[in-house]
Symmetry: C2
DNA sequence: CGGTGTGAAAGTTTTCACAGCG
DNA sequence: CGCTGTGAAAACTTTCACACCG
């Protein structure tokens, strides 16, 4: 056991190498988001049960999740928000900023170019590409749309490691191949297709229609609601 | 026990009441998406292992997932794509179309109004609302932006049951409360905040920056790659 | 006290493996 | 045959409960 509890203000142990469950990492992002809100509201410390309650998780789950990465709390006190935020950012890799390449400057792509939430978490869309000659050359939200031919060169020049795919389904695989060829290490894919990627390229899919489908299912299957538990306020 | 295996061409058993794991439902959407692609490409039948391979799941997982809802396959043959699509839509509730109310007609909201993927899965944004008087009255992608004051009435009139929240974080909870008050049954929330909702209202959150954070983590922690397995066949 | 960190127990999801069927 | 449907086993995740700490 790597046992260490020396100084009170611990930093992130290490990103750790042992496999951390994906679902844990996704909760980490939620913890971070909530912590940022708390700090903005002036809160200094928080306990696992407060944080859990806000997000609908148990206190034990919060502590276990954090436990994957190190020891961040103070018994009897909780966690110092600012310290924990820094630790989470270290873990997630967002203490330094990331340049992102966007492929596809249609409706959705243009909206993403203007989305302020990326910058707040240290992501910057550093370049945008489109196959349509009519779009190339335009400057949208301060980013000039470049032709796809320039992708590899720009990615190299700007040290871009992440890509966002915002093209129609039919062109998604081809565009992904270009990103991979350019040496990109991870892709967020907004096209409603499953990409085939080499195993060293990380992949996160966001399908907007699927999100609605999940709602549709939840609402539809909410027919089985008879003998309820009147007590506890809710939490799936 | 509800045991039934009568006619070959089975339909969806029933949405079922027993709790189906969320993750199963999310895979269902992926199966459906892939099946639609296959049918468009002219394929008639598919086996669990083909479908699984395309999406990165095991054949057993595909069969188990489907098994939650009924029996859809033909031993020795696989699944008939068209039948399975219909069954999945029955389960997910997308064999009938859904009217959706959108709150927030900023950059992202306007892009979503034009997103064709919704219609393809039987969702229609039937009304859009914004607090900004400058936006109200404009027609975007064929949808007129209405003032928030009209929300409840329009929701009732048009039989809208689902909402999409595309407002800044600070206004998200307030807007969600309005949707709830209007009788909406489920919300897709694009604001980077955790909403507090009554338990009978379903909730799906989409945080675009978090998707990038997950990538960032995956790429960052992809440092632990030493003794690799060059070949495919696994032997631990 | 109020709270963390953590083994051990409970619960859930995935994989295995095989009977049965067209 | 080739492939489904499904119990049983394995793997994984969450919850419990408690020692320990400031």
């Amino acid at each position: 056991m790597t046992d260490q509890r020396p100084q009170p203000p611990q930093t992130a142990d290490l990103p750790s190498d042992a496999s951390v469950p994906k679902v844990v990492v996704s909760r980490l992002s939620l913890y971070l988001r909530e912590l940022q809100r708390l700090v903005a509201a002036g809160q200094q410390t928080i306990s696992s049960s407060q944080l859990g309650t806000m997000l609908g998780f148990s206190d034990a789950q919060v502590r276990k999740d954090l436990g994957f990465f190190g020891q961040f709390g103070y018994p009897g006190v909780g966690y110092r928000c600012d310290e924990l935020i820094r630790a989470m950012r270290d873990i997630l890799g967002t203490n330094h900023s990331w340049s992102v390449a966007m492929v596809g400057a249609g409706n959705l792509g243009q909206a993403l170019l203007g989305y302020r939430g990326f910058g707040r978490q240290n992501f910057a869309i550093a370049a945008a590409f489109d196959a349509d000659p009519a779009k190339v050359g335009q400057t949208i939200q301060g980013v000039r749309i470049q032709p796809l031919a320039e992708l590899a060169e720009t990615v190299r020049q700007k040290g871009i490691r992440l890509g966002m795919l915002v093209v129609p389904a039919e062109r998604a695989q081809e565009a992904a191949d270009r990103l991979v060829a350019a040496g990109i290490e991870g892709i967020v894919n907004f096209a409603p297709v499953t990409l085939v990627l080499p195993p060293h390229v990380q992949n996160v899919g966001v399908d907007l229609a699927i999100e609605l489908e999940q709602l549709s299912f939840a609402v539809t299957s909410k027919l089985a609601k008879a003998a309820g538990e009147p007590g506890v306020p809710a939490e799936p």
